[in-house]
Amino acid sequence: MTKQSISFCDNPVWKFLSSVRLAIVLLILLAVTSIAGTVIPQGETMQFYLEKYGPNLFRLIKSAQLYQMYDAWWFLSIMIFFAVNLIVCTINRVPITMQLYSRDFLDVTKERLLRMSASARIALGSSEKSVRVVEVFKKVAGKSRARSLAGSELFLVESGKWGYWGLYILHSSIIVIMVGALIGSLLGFKGNLMLFEGETSDVAVERGSDKNIPLGFTVKCDDFNVEFYDNGAPKEYLSELTILENEKEMLKKTIKVNDPLRYKGITFYQSSFDSAPEVKFHIVSASGSSKDLSIPAFERSLWKETGLQFGLMRFLPNVHGTVAAHIWIGDEQNEPQAIWFVQGREKEFTFGGNLYKASVKEVSQRFMTGLQVKKDPGVWVVWLGCTLLIVGFVVVFWVPHVRIWLWVGEEDGNIVAIIAGQSNKNQIAFNKDFEKIKQALRSSIGE
């Protein structure tokens, strides 16, 4: 390390930010504060909190933004603090890991080998046996490096050294996930879209702000269906969607819950549905001409020949056992009227000086699909982070750095072999392996 970097690491602010003690405090703080948002309902109206919690608690809830806690500045600050802590801590550890990583494990004395908890001395007696032991060691323990010392030889089998980087994979995965979430919240949007069967739209309505967000293409709902189980529980919600660009059909898909449609980075999820009534209307004029009209909710229907327009103002599904509809009637010249019709019963009325007879023949439901529209360019970064998290975790705990030494040389005039080993984790598995190698060496010389 250079002088400069030492003074850098000694900086008290850096020390504080790199301390694991701080990490533990922040983890506990995150855990404890998170509880508040699970107890207090989130995203309700101010009125709701005032009624439920009374004026004193309400003031606290309002000032600490506990009604949308996970977006509150103080909660985000803890998160950012945590992220900084993690980054600084990670950078801080690099020199230590580098040292571990580049340490020369062939640079070890016989005495140290004997002091290791896994070690054994095997008397060889002849140099012939020592050749055999080395051969067997190489075969059983794996690829080895060797170093000749004065009057002795040292072999080392080392594996899993790269596992030290697992911790970096693991810790940086948390940062990657946070970056993914940030990308999503800066560059993406979340919106809703309600579409009648047959209707099209080229915008979505942003959640929260109710602003229209242009999609860059058109989406059309061709059909919507709900299927039910025998017991009445919903089985499937299905929307047939078509994507249009310049009136050209680009993509067609039937979406359901858990099976969305994706197009140009925007995803359409089946989230809800609604229905509106549609009235079949029969009208006869005094002159004898008649017309069957379909009057959907929220739209006008036109009787071309007479210029009359009809709209559905209100609809009551059950008035003394039948359906009633309040129909709006108007044209260019006259004062509009609204008249109640009961299904199946003909009614006479005058409009613009003309007499008409009309009736509501049938009322059907017109479905409207509720879509959630989302753009989240960060989601793949989040998934990358999640993958790194799992990979890193597995490496941290299941890739041990194992070192097994074989020293062969003369000791007090006798040729002996010393086998020793170390592992930084999974001692039980390591001990098993070590015993196996030891036994193989022993039996190779007939012990």
């Binding site: 990490a23 998170s34 089985k235 999820y269 089946q270 998290l389 799992i390 597995v394």
Partner: protein
Amino acid sequence: MFTSSFLLSLTTFVYLGCAVLYLITWIFRVRSIGFAATAATWFGLAVQTTAIGLRWVESYRMGYGHAPLSNLYESLVFFSWVVIAVYLFIEWTIKNKVIGAFATPFASLAMAYASFSPKVEDAIQPLIPALKSNWLIAHVVTCFLGYASFAVACGFGFMYLIRGDEDRDSGLIGTLPSRKNIDELIHQTIIFGFLWLSVGIITGAIWANEAWGTYWSWDPKETWSLITWFVYAVALHVRFVKGWAGKRIAIIAIIGFISVLFTYFGVNFLLSGLHSYGNQ
């Protein structure tokens, strides 16, 4: 004649019996009873596995087939199945039956609660659209692998506290594994559980993203699983960095499992949110 619900009731009684047998084994130290306890537990596991498979088949016969992991009842059954499986694995690797007295009660309690509580609906129900996802199966399986490991870690935590501050070699306490071994067992099961909880949270996020278009919405259940995750992250860090071991880790293992229980039941019964298992 052998319906899944009959076999699951049988499982409940077998596991209760196992817990009693393991307790007797520990308290009176009779080898043959220990053997019977192990045999009964394997038998219980076999019966329960058959029952779960049968329940799966039955759901297909009813016309809305799905893996038996879709409501509170089925998740409790699966939870106890994993506890037993994890326990038998540990017994088999470290050859100590005393642990059974601390692990099997979790499985028996879960089964008893599932079978006898009027709050838990045990009929096979059709899946509502949001639950029709392979990610859901992955999510439930991995979460419960985690929860069950944490249950076992909690059992070890109690075991450690019972063992007390010194390694006595006589009496009831003397038959427990050494403090060092229990400590290591707590650590290992926490690591195992933490990995599965992480995978569980991630698969849950993927599922939510497919179903609702948000991988994380801070709903109470999600948040509580994250709180639980933080608790165990703290356990790993204080151990590794501050060298905490023994009693303190044992206590964290117990606190962690309380958090698991709250994630599992508390959220359903006390708070409201997307995960409506408990409200059915």
